[in-house]
Amino acid sequence: MVSYILKRLAMSLLIIYIVISLSFFMIRLMPGNPMAALEAQLRMQGGLSEVEIQQRINAVYSVTPDAPVWEQYVQYVWGAVRGDLGRPITNPGTTVVAVIAEALPWTIMVVAVSLIISFIIGIAVGAMMAAFQSSRFSQSMTFIVSFLSAIPSYLVAIALLYVLTSVYQVFPSGGAYGVDVTPGFNGPYVISVLYHAILPIAASVITSFGGWALGMKGSAVSVLGAEYVRAAESRGLSDRRITQSYVGRNSMLPMVTQLALSVGFMFGGSVFIETYFQYPGIGFYMIQSVGQRDYSLMMGCFLLITVSVIITNLLVDMLYPLVDPRIANPAARARAADQPSDTDQEVLPAGGSMA
């Protein structure tokens, strides 16, 4: 168990390191890279001495531009490790970390809530579809669910915006809370936050619960046909016992694996949803910084999205032994590995291959 977690931890750190390096190379080493562009721009402005120019660049990207490349690289990585990601070009008064720290809780709230809601709805609908196979309910649900899961989330966002904020002005069209409430733990503020979060959450739930339902249906149907379920039935166990301990638990297994994969997908989708609902989360700032060519903020957002995804993956990995005891027990794991499992071939991530 400990070695399993340590292995996952080492892998996570490696990925974070790679993403930090990637962001350095993109900022510094690309032909016509943003750092050289900033330097040229500052020269063009005139009135700045060479030292001042170097200082400005140092402030924005937290590296010394005239040092050798490897030294800059070490500076950049060390800065990122200490939590210093430089300053946004468009707003040098603050730091990238401060902007992100303000934005991240909103994104995490929306992503987490919509993931949980769509997971629960999807699992329930999928289980019902598997329980009443070939009923009219199941057939029409299959159609509705495949239809909804094929629609890109940003189109649902635009449609919701059009109908519910413009034609019928039921919901606010932007922001995380109203201007008339004071932030803090009080009734009006909490209500305002929920009120503003409904549309972004609805947009991602509508498009993502279908994937869960289809996956759950497929997995439950294949478990229903398994020998151990028939054995449990012939032993005369109660329906409730069979549904919970035999069918439910085993068909949930691939779904929990999916959960880890879909976190990354949800964070990706939140970029669109936050931009359209002008919800001040990390995706919103990322797109804004892309539009303003603000590369230090953009790479900071990307780094933080990656780290959030990795941390949630780690959490799911630690949760996994609870659902599947074979993972924690090495002997059972070896036995399970001997039989080639085809769970990862059967279930496609919600959203196809973009997850």
């Binding site: 892998m11 996570s12 490696l14 990925i15 790679i18 993403v19 993109m26 690309m30 890279n33 943003p34 196979q133 159609f143 495949s146 899961s149 094929a150 629609i151 890109p152 940003y154 189109l155 635009i158 449609a159 915006l161 059009y162 904020t165 413009s166 034609v167 149907v221 994969l261 990354g264 997908f265 964070f267 990706g268 989708g269 970029v271 669109f272 995706g283 990322m286 797109i287 892309v290 539009g291 590369y295 953009m298 790479m299 957002c301 990307f302 999205i305 990656t306 995804v309 990795i310 993956n313 080639p340 085809d342 990862d344 071939q345 991530p349 959203g351 196809g352 291959s353 973009m354 997850a355």
Partner: protein
């Protein structure tokens, strides 16, 4: 031609899949022949702006007085080209890596699978946005490469696990004893056995690439030039289509075009799934 007759038999009984397949076919034809039949001119006529649907312009006009329908037809080609190109790259890389590592195994397998894990963990869409903002994506091939930057990893993993179970089968054993080359082993022996899976994944990769590429144009990350659905929605939103009701057709027509295509792909791929996977037909 067993495959085609099988496909037809399934399609005949599954109306959703039949309609899906027909729609995909229509879109392909529109992508190939559309720009020859319809033309979107450069002339601007403000007096013709935001017209209601008429015989001349079945879906109304945009802010410059040009027909929305003809723009949608012309815009099909760039979207389909990028989608298909990206799916080809995704499938090629994913299958090649999956089959090779699954068959060869050993240290190479471990190392390459660790790299695959990295690509699997990094969130795809943010990486695509970041890359597209630094790299010039006017060339569709470059855009397709960026779109498939992480998509291949999932396929490679799935194909690898299939290749590993194929490795111990008799026909692989027999081919090995005949001393066939590695290329023959992978291309001639293993590939046909994972073909069905690859075909379905190819369709899903197209939908994924269309989702991401339209998204890039929507957000304005990819350069706004030429004419495609993402650019249309982007312009419509920028011109305040949300706040006036006249431009509803201009905003919702390209959205409908995307939704219809994506849904058609999903339903069609379900039919393909049951052609290749007889187990599913029983259910």
């Amino acid at each position: 031609m067993r495959f085609l007759s099988d496909l037809w038999r399934i399609l005949r009984h599954d109306k959703g899949a039949l309609i899906g397949g027909a729609i995909v076919l229509i879109y392909c034809l529109a992508a190939i022949f559309g720009p020859m039949l319809v033309e979107v001119g450069n002339e601007q006529d403000a007096s013709q702006a935001y017209l209601a649907p008429s015989l001349e312009h079945p879906l109304g006009t945009d802010s410059l007085g040009q027909g929305v329908l003809s723009q949608i037809i012309v815009g099909t080609r760039p979207i389909m080209i990028v989608g298909v190109l990206s799916a080809v790259i995704t499938v090629f890389v994913g299958v090649a890596i999956g089959l090779l590592t699954g068959y060869v195994g050993g240290v190479a397998d471990t190392v390459i699978m660790r790299i695959t894990d990295i690509f699997l963990t990094i969130p795809g869409l943010p990486l695509i946005i970041v890359l597209a903002s630094v790299i010039n994506t006017t060339n569709p091939v470059v855009l397709a490469c960026i779109l498939s930057i992480t998509a291949w990893a999932g396929l490679a993993r799935a194909i690898r696990s299939q290749a590993m179970s194929l490795r111990s089968r008799e026909f692989v054993e027999a081919a090995k004893l005949q001393g066939v080359s590695l290329g023959n082993m992978v291309g001639r022996q293993l590939l046909p056995n994972v073909g069905p899976y690859v075909a379905i994944h190819f369709l899903l990769a197209i939908t994924g690439a269309i989702y991401a590429s339209v998204g890039l144009f929507l957000l304005g990350v990819a350069p706004i030039s030429g004419n495609n659905w993402g650019i249309m929605i982007n312009l419509a939103m920028a011109q305040g289509a949300l706040y006036t009701t006249d431009s509803a057709f201009y905003l919702f027509s390209p959205m409908a075009a995307i939704v219809i295509l994506q849904v058609a792909f999903v339903f069609f791929s379900r039919a393909l799934d049951s052609v290749f996977n007889p187990r599913l037909r029983v259910q």
